[in-house]
């Protein structure tokens, strides 16, 4: 009986999350509460299922970024890029794409697009160009860059924490794939839009008059932020020696930055995205319920039967399956469900799990590019664009993004096959 209750709660919660009729956090928390109230799991089991390493890392990074972005450091880099592109639309497009990808590797994708979308508008307005190519570039490169590191996209944090994969593991295994896909995407976009990128001398001059330092509003804060971000990255890189978990490093960094800036913590702690954090908590508990009744194990067995326990088959299946699901479902709930499933496949088949984790990461992070609803970052950009009278149509976006996502997945398949399966 609890088997069907658990599946029922999970399926309904998932369906409502996809439909977006009610806020996903509210639904996840209601589903989680029902799992306990209806006796599928106990509260102790629920709390054990919450991955506090993931939550700590998310909260720590949110606080650091919330403080650092007030210094203008990210805007400085973006404006500097526009000027470095000599005011020509094409080089600027490429440079902004690269910067989006790099920011996205260090920040989460939504934060990245919140920083880069306004830049896209300002640049396009100065160049008197349609902002859409810049907006599409921002969406695509934010999701691609996010795949490169442990902290680049929340699913990576989930996977890293559950599979014990470090910051360096991600850089070493995912960054090359992310770079290859970013280069291919920028090249294709370049050919796609090359005729649109024409600017007058006057608008080029407008860009050349930019003084990037005007973007910096607080120089002291800038230095303090860079020191702390540097220390946090150093902490991630040296995990192999120190064995300090990512959450410890991020939260310590957040505490240090609060100390250095003598800021009242109230404001910055409130600015952490608690709705996202509680969404994670709800999801963790939902998934524990499903695990508890054996539903995940059941799915893992089915998948094992389909792929006959063949590592190559299983890996490719997970890569493309994740990409497909992430283009329709938010990748966070999807990955939260897939993690125990991948672990169970490991138990059933005895396969090496590393290729499966990387396939899941690439599929989930980059699959979200395919549609305008595929990832939170996409929705943030399209929301801002609509307010400025540049509504991004579902089909309009997909015409550009779907082929690019397929190309990205083909590159991912070749990369994973060549690196882990031969």
């Amino acid at each position: 009986m609890t088997f069907f209750i658990a599946i029922g709660i999970f399926a309904i919660a998932y369906a409502i999350i996809i439909s977006e009729k009610i806020h996903r956090t509210v639904i996840a928390l209601i589903g989680a509460s029902l799992m306990i109230i209806l006796g599928v799991i106990s509260q102790e089991q629920a709390i054990e299922g919450v991955d506090f390493n993931t939550l700590g890392l998310l909260i720590g990074m949110m606080v650091i970024v919330d403080i650092a972005k007030h210094s203008g450091v990210f805007q400085y880099v973006a404006i500097w890029a526009a000027k470095a592109g000599k005011g020509s639309p094409m080089p600027i497009f490429i440079l902004l794409g690269i910067i989006t990808a790099v920011f996205s590797a260090l920040l989460d994708n939504v934060t990245t697009v919140l920083l880069m979308t306004p830049v896209a508008f300002v640049i396009a307005n100065n160049l008197k160009l349609n902002p859409k190519p810049y907006l599409f570039g921002t969406i695509l490169l934010s999701n691609i860059g996010g795949a490169a590191t442990l902290i680049g996209d929340p699913p990576n944090i989930l996977i890293g924490s559950a599979a014990g994969l470090s910051f360096n593991d991600f850089i070493f295994n995912m960054a090359p794939a992310s770079v290859l896909i970013a280069v291919a995407t920028l090249l294709i976009l370049f050919f796609w839009y090359r005729k649109e990128f024409v600017a007058t001398d006057e608008s080029k001059k407008a860009i050349m008059r930019f003084e990037p330092s005007e973007a910096i509003t607080d120089k002291k804060l800038l230095i303090k932020s860079l020191i702390v971000i540097g220390l946090v990255l150093f902490g991630f890189f040296t995990h192999g020696f120190t064995h300090l978990e990512a959450a410890t490093i991020a939260l310590a960094g957040a505490a240090l930055l609060l100390l250095l800036t003598f800021n009242e913590p109230d404001h910055h702690l409130q600015n952490a995205e608690w709705t996202t954090i509680f969404f994670f908590i709800g999801l963790f508990v939902l998934v524990v319920g499903l695990e508890q009744v054996g539903a995940i194990y059941f799915l893992a067995q089915k998948l094992f039967m389909i792929t006959e326990g063949n590592l190559t088959m299983t890996t490719i299946f997970i890569l493309w399956g994740s990409a497909f699901f992430s283009s329709v479902v938010d990748n966070i709930p999807f990955v939260a469900t897939m993690i125990p499933l991948v672990k169970d496949i490991g138990t059933i088949s005895g396969l090496a799990l590393a290729p499966l984790w990387w396939a899941l990461t690439l599929g989930a992070d980059i699959g979200g590019n395919a549609t305008i609803v595929g990832a939170s970052a996409n929705l943030v950009v399209s929301g801002m664009a609509e307010k400025e009278g540049h509504k991004i149509g579902f089909v309009e976006y997909m015409k550009v993004a779907l082929p690019l996502t397929v190309v990205a997945m083909v590159i991912s398949t070749i990369y994973i096959y060549w690196r882990y399966l031969v």
């Binding site: 404006i79 300002v122 307005n125 100065n126 400025e388 009278g389």
Partner: protein, 153 residues
């Protein structure tokens, strides 16, 4: 007559109001014409729907993406100011007025009014009767006058 220092003694009764069906353009015209920074938005029954200040007008012409990121304002193209104003000229006032309005009744004490003004940092307090119909407004200057009166006693 001994003053009780209640709102009705100090409020202004010739309020500048604008209908809730008006547009951005009409609101700006009315403000300029009446040399005021604040309009009270009312419906056809003179019930208060919102307050419109110059502040709301200014905020409305700033695009969301610049509000999101003030660091970039210095780099925005100069013609965006003109373009943006033309774009929003026909927006209904209901879309950018402050619709959560604190109101007071004429028989309330000035202390009650002062508390509302100071707590919410607002400049104007519409005064309504018991049918919620606008009968006047009280601003910071009116309270200052009352303070001066007491000090000079």
């Amino acid at each position: 007559m001994i003053k009780k220092y209640i709102i009705s003694e100090f409020m202004n009764t010739n309020t500048v109001t604008i209908r809730d069906s008006a547009t951005f353009r009409e609101a700006v015209d009315m403000m300029v014409e009446n040399k005021t920074n604040g309009l009270i938005v009312v419906d056809n029954l003179q019930k208060v729907k919102g307050i419109l200040s110059s502040w709301d007008i200014i905020q409305h012409i700033v695009p969301d993406y610049l509000e999101e990121d003030k660091h970039l304002a210095a780099f925005e193209s100069g013609d965006v100011f003109i373009r943006r104003i033309k774009e929003v000229a026909n927006t209904p006032v209901t879309e950018f007025m402050t619709s959560k309005v604190h109101k007071a009744h004429p028989e309330q004490s000035l202390m009650a009014a002062a508390t509302i003004l100071s707590e919410f940092h607002i400049r104007q307090l519409p005064v309504v009767d018991h049918n919620d119909v606008l009968i006047g407004y009280l601003n910071r200057t009116d309270i200052k006058k009352a303070i001066a009166e007491i000090l000079s006693e």
